[in-house]
């Protein structure tokens, strides 16, 4: 029997704008693009505030970065192209037009097609891309209060002219979860290309086209982080389904995601025709990309997450699941490889242990603190030492877990253990007295043990508590069993 979930009727297409934050300057001028945290209108020049007579000049690195992403995504790169003007009036566009690429009227996108493979419970799915292209970022608008009530608009052009890459998917995404998974994979690929750090505030903007099969679609604008996309899509699907349930007619419309109220709202913007009157930008000369140049960039492209995942399985004997988790964040994967390769005696057992520490306690700590591994003082060699100490039986796994926090802050494991006096207690005599004490004090559990052997775990736990986690669990178990049987 085929179970048709309600998700099969949902059609989502995404338009993702990401800033190429690893560029030092803007797309068409030499203003620094590191404007974050700066006073308004202090990272500007005549070109990016659109003063008459100023002329744009293309940043060569931007073309190289776009090419890296196009290759990584498997797009067909257009070898001959030029820029277009997209005309509309809005205060965030100082010139009254945005310089962008256009795939109609004789124009070409930077790259056509391409795909991203995502993981699903039921297997893998290819999310097909329509195209990618480069364009300039508009400025930032600031409203007093809300966009509706604000009596005027304040404009900061620090962001104006920063290089954006737009990635357009085909309408082939069928659920908010798929959208999230797609964006996670895309983020990973972008990180591997070394062209942007998408954790930077405001480096990502997503527009989503969403409809339920057979009904009008809405376009949600203003989704300002990958995390918000899933939330916005879920909300919009619910709204559309409720409409249909009540036999109301959905109309094709543009809606804004209000991330403070977490709803999409239909906004009536000032009469504004969607006629952008694209025409070729005459202030910029055409781009012609040589095949040899594309090949060169291709050869310098680092290993992509998918290939690395397969290598991790082969080289370190990790499962597909483990490899996938490790490679997703390039910094974690780099850290892992440095760790496993720093001890020549390490083998698959240690490879797996290191993987467990990274995807387990270390990742948990990073998530809780909302930090990247490169922001911490933890070094691969410290995690290697941790694994060695456990293997040599000098500390228990429980102690190891308890010191991760301090290790993340840069304190070497050996120093922590010295300070805390934490070592594994393997001395049978010492453990004997502890076990005896615990047995005496817990006659209820002993009674329970007669019918429920699992009560032994509770006794081991008590011994651990007595020794602040230092008792060797194996010896403790052995001793407890001995004494209970007596």
């Amino acid at each position: 029997m085929i179970i048709v979930t309600s998700h099969d009727n949902i059609i989502i297409g995404l338009e993702i704008h990401v800033q190429l934050t690893k560029l030092k300057t803007k797309l068409f001028c030499s203003c620094s693009s590191k404007y974050r945290g700066a006073e308004p209108n202090t990272y500007v020049c005549p070109i990016c505030i659109g003063l008459p007579g100023s002329l744009p000049v293309l940043n060569e690195k931007a073309v190289e970065f776009a090419m890296k992403l196009a290759i990584a995504l498997g797009c067909k790169i257009n070898k001959s192209m030029y820029f277009f003007r997209k005309n509309y009036f809005y205060p965030d566009l100082p010139k009254g037009f945005q310089i962008t690429q256009y795939n109609k009227a004789g124009g070409k996108a930077f790259g056509d097609g391409g795909k991203v493979i995502i993981k699903k419970k039921s297997g893998k799915k290819e999310i097909l891309l329509n195209r990618i292209h480069i364009e300039e970022d508009p400025g930032r608008l600031v409203h007093k209060g809300s966009i509706v009530s604000s009596p005027y608009t304040l404009v900061d052009y620090n962001r104006s002219g920063v290089c954006l890459i737009e990635i357009v998917t085909e309408p082939v995404i069928n659920s908010p979860e798929e959208a999230r998974e797609f964006l996670n994979q895309l983020k990973s690929i972008i990180q591997y290309c070394g062209i942007a750090d998408l954790d930077l505030e405001g480096s990502v903007r997503v527009d989503a086209n969403i409809s339920i099969k057979g009904h009008a679609r809405s376009e949600i604008k203003n989704i300002n982080s990958f995390k918000e996309v899933q939330r916005a899509l879920k909300w919009e699907i619910r709204r559309q389904k409720n409409f249909i349930k009540r036999n109301k007619l959905l109309k094709q419309e543009t809606r804004h995601w209000d991330d403070s109220r977490r709803v999409t709202v239909g906004l009536r913007s000032k009469e504004f025709e969607k006629d952008y009157r694209y025409f070729p930008e005459q202030d910029l000369v055409p781009i012609e990309l040589k095949k040899s140049y594309i090949e060169k960039i291709k050869n310098y492209l680092p290993e992509m997450p998918n290939a690395r995942m397969k290598r991790f399985q082969n080289q370190y004997g990790l499962s597909e699941f483990d490899s996938e988790i490790l490679v997703m964040d390039k910094d974690i994967a780099d850290f892992y490889e440095e760790a496993v390769n720093s001890e020549k005696d390490f083998e698959s057992k240690e490879y797996k242990l290191l993987c467990n520490w990274l995807k387990g306690d270390i990742s948990r700590w990073l998530n809780l603190q909302n930090k990247k591994i490169t922001d911490t003082d933890l070094t691969p060699i410290q995690v290697v030492n941790l694994v060695k100490l456990i293997e040599e039986g000098r500390i228990t796994g429980k102690i190891a877990k308890s010191v991760i926090g301090d290790m993340m802050l840069g304190t070497p494991i050996k120093k922590i253990l010295k300070q805390q006096g934490k070592k594994r207690i393997a001395d049978e005599e010492k453990l004997s007295s502890i076990c005896k004490k615990v047995i005496q004090e817990n006659s209820e559990i002993i009674k329970d043990y007669k019918t429920n052997p699992r009560a032994l775990e509770a006794l081991i736990g008590k011994c651990m508590k007595e020794t602040h986690g230092q008792a060797d669990p194996k010896i403790t178990r052995k001793l407890l069993l001995e004494y209970i049987e007596k």
Partner: protein, 101 residues
């Protein structure tokens, strides 16, 4: 010349809306005549046979790949940037509100 290429009342209304211009009827009539003259002038090009000429995208078609290195340089100060702005506030350019009430 075909009818649709003329600047009809509808066309004038449409393009003035795109340009965010509010025109009086007299202005519209005036502009309609002027724009029609300009377009007719361009129609002189139709006298030439261009069926074998590839379209020109750029007047400097032989110049390609003019690039700049990704090296930052000093831009304008905030005062300089706002110097010509008629409306400003706290270092920002000040613009009318975006949405209708």
């Amino acid at each position: 010349m075909s009818k649709k290429e003329e600047f009809s009342q509808e066309t004038i209304d449409y393009i003035s809306k795109l340009a965010l211009l509010e025109l009086t009827d007299a202005e519209k009539k005036d502009l309609s005549t002027q724009l029609n003259d300009i377009i007719s002038y361009f129609h002189k090009l139709d006298d030439l046979d261009t069926s074998n000429v590839p379209p020109t995208r750029h007047p400097l078609e032989n110049i390609k790949n003019v690039y700049r290195n990704d090296i930052p340089t000093e831009g304008l100060s905030n005062e300089e940037a706002l110097q010509n702005a008629p409306h400003k506030k706290e270092g920002f350019f000040k613009a009318p509100k975006i949405l209708k009430d």
